[in-house]
């Protein structure tokens, strides 16, 4: 039985002391005070303690208290567990986000191309007002050329959670209107606008025809023991339809392009630190009147669960689902057919891009918005089982909106509210609550927008509980 007492790590004393009522050795208050130092609290308790801090910012602040706190908080084990716990407490639906409305048509002017930034006031990430000035990126300082100051411009190409893919280019490159930043994005960066960390990607040889850009990190793997490992591997993808080493024929009208069920993907792999250029094909469908891969600039690419999705064709004939982690080996990707119920099949005469693809609470949604005699038709579908071989569309909304004199254009879904979308009504950016049929003006597009479908690009920043660090390039 004495083993028991030894195990508890103390003095073996089976008989109670005689002077139980008046114990002789109680520590004086002074002694206690001396002992009451949080230095001697075991690491495991401090670890638990820091997990209870409200956000990553508060934890990082605590890391500057003393060496021990710093070593616990900056350990990858702590960060993983923190993300794991906080992302479960704070579901995706209440995560703070920022929408960036950039104006392609203003890139050539001196106006600020980021015409709108929208965040919900009650949900600033880590309790601070997010800023999306990308002036921390290099090469953005003004440069004197022929006595004129020619500022470098930065353009956002894609976003993933709180990371942005951005590019910088010289002002004069954009002489022609509507070329947009997709033209010649050689020098690209991955950055976190909040932590101002950035990484310059190796230069890429520009595709002759660029359609769009995507950034995608590997889906989080989440386990109780290890916490959440996030964004270990990532891919930057440039989608286009003519190779970079294309030699142009003398005839202006002859530009060899991909076949109609193909596209070119330039994929940057985080593990190798290199770009590769591939031709990817998707199963050819029965649609005969196909224009092949969209040749419009600014293809809006949505990343979900490690897969990139975009609307394919002009007019739209399906949704491409491209997995840059795995499809690069098969050289094949999936094509998801469009919804049947309530979907208005387009004709060539219609306005382009009445469809929008986006993520709401992590689910893929498609919308269609068009004028119909005296009203607007606004329809929303959600894709169920989108990772499976046979995904299916569910009709979410099919509405008639009153016609107004101002042109109405669907800008974006709300990242985490299924009932709310962002509309452009005239020059106003409005939050439209579908269930309440209520508009709320949240911003304005200066100078008016002539072609919202091509002039405005929308990216969203969705902040996780801990800012995503920028992974380093592998050393070659």
């Amino acid at each position: 039985m004495n083993d028991l007492l030894v195990e508890t790590g103390g003095i073996v004393s089976v008989q109670p002391l005689p002077d139980v009522k008046n114990p002789p050795r109680i520590l004086s208050e002074d002694d206690n005070l001396k002992l009451a130092k949080f230095d001697s609290v075991p690491d495991s308790i401090l670890f638990e303690l820091f997990l209870r801090l409200p956000n990553g910012r508060s934890a990082v602040q605590c890391s500057s208290v003393c060496k021990r706190w710093s070593s616990i908080i900056s350990s990858s084990a702590f960060i993983r567990t923190f993300i794991h716990i906080h992302d479960h407490i704070c579901p995706q639906s209440s995560r703070p986000f920022t929408l960036l409305f950039a104006r392609y048509d203003l890139y050539h002017s001196d106006d600020d191309p980021f015409c709108q930034v929208f965040s919900e006031k009650s949900k600033f990430p880590y309790g601070i007002m997010p800023s999306v000035h990308l002036n921390f990126l290099p090469h953005l300082r003004a440069k004197k050329k022929r006595k004129k100051i020619l500022p470098y411009r930065v353009a956002i190409l894609a976003s993933f959670n709180d990371l942005l893919l951005a590019t910088s280019f010289e002002h004069w490159l954009l002489g022609a209107r509507n070329l947009g930043p997709n033209f010649g994005a050689k020098r690209n960066y991955i950055c976190n606008p909040l932590t101002k960390q950035w990484l310059e990607l190796p230069e890429v040889s520009v595709l002759y025809i660029v359609s769009g850009y995507g950034l995608v990190c590997e889906p989080n793997s989440c386990s109780k023991q290890l916490g959440c490992t996030s964004n270990v591997r990532y891919r930057v993808v440039i989608i286009g339809r003519a190779h970079s080493n294309l030699i142009l024929g003398k005839t202006k009208y002859f530009i060899p392009q991909c076949r109609k069920n193909e596209f070119i993907a330039q994929v940057f792999c985080s593990e190798t630190g290199q770009w590769s250029e591939l031709v990817i094909s998707y199963p050819e469908t029965a649609i005969t009147r196909s224009w092949g891969t969209s040749n419009l600039n600014g293809l809006h690419i949505v990343a979900r669960n490690g897969i990139l999705y975009w609307l394919e064709g002009d007019p739209v004939k399906g949704i491409v689902a491209f997995d840059p982690f795995n499809d690069v080996y098969k050289r094949q990707c999936r094509l998801i057919s469009l919804p049947v119920v309530c979907f208005k099949t387009a004709s060539y005469l219609d306005d382009v891009r009445r469809e929008r693809l986006g993520l709401v609470n992590g689910q893929l949604r498609l919308s269609q918005f068009y004028e119909w005699s005296t009203y607007y038709v606004f329809t929303v579908w959600e894709l169920k089982n989108c990772d499976s071989e046979s995904p299916s569309w569910v009709l979410v909304y099919n509405l008639k909106l009153n016609y107004s004199k101002n042109r109405v254009f669907m800008l974006s879904f709300h990242p985490n509210n299924t009932d709310v979308v962002f509309l452009l009504c005239g020059n106003d950016i409005c939050l439209y609550d579908i269930s309440m049929n209520k508009y709320e003006k949240v911003g304005e597009c200066p100078n008016g927008v002539k072609f919202p479908e091509t002039d405005i690009s929308i990216d969203s920043l969705l902040y996780p509980s801990w800012p995503t660090p920028i992974p380093e390039l592998p050393c070659n």
Binding site: P16, E48, V65
Partner: protein, 163 residues
């Protein structure tokens, strides 16, 4: 609670002895709220006297008081218990001075009273929240042991968090 315990199983009493010799007589159901004691009871069975040389009587008493409340409240099986426990927990940590809090935390950790540790760490965390680094050091009497420049480096590296 008394009505339910009229079954044939008589409540077993355990003797817990603190570092300063203060001895507590507690019901097994109460003491086994503490993981360490529960393990000992399960493994060793018949031992009735348990010496706890790392815990001072004053704080062991408080830990046991907490256990008793929770054990009692848990025997009543209505849903209001969670609320009662929460309310009582709030009272329990409300006026703890830092010294007591620290010793209780150490005692609860040593005795593997997971729930109590959770409660106390939450309390400490609430004392950190919203405080600046200097205020945290002052509150917890922590001296910065960084080498010159190290702290500035952390701040510089994470400037977003200090703006």
């Amino acid at each position: 609670m008394s009505s339910s315990s009229t079954t044939t199983t008589t409540t077993r009493l355990l003797m817990l002895k603190a570092s300063d010799g203060v001895t507590f007589e507690v019901e097994e159901a109460v003491a086994t709220k503490l993981g360490a004691i529960n393990n000992m009871v399960e493994e060793e069975g018949s031992e009735d006297l348990i010496c706890l040389p790392n815990v001072n009587g004053k704080f062991l008493g408080m830990v046991l008081e907490w256990c008793k409340k929770h054990a009692n409240n848990n025997t009543n099986s209505d849903k209001g218990n969670d609320e009662v426990n929460k309310w009582w927990d709030k009272e329990f940590v409300m006026d703890l001075d830092q010294n007591t809090l620290y010793h209780l935390l150490m005692a609860a950790d040593y005795l593997s009273g997971t729930e109590l540790v959770d409660l106390l760490t939450e309390k400490v965390a609430s004392m950190i929240r919203g405080k600046k680094v200097e205020e945290i050091r002052e509150t917890f009497k922590i001296k910065s042991d960084f080498l010159p420049g190290q702290e500035e480096e952390i701040r510089k590296k994470n400037s977003w968090a200090f703006e």
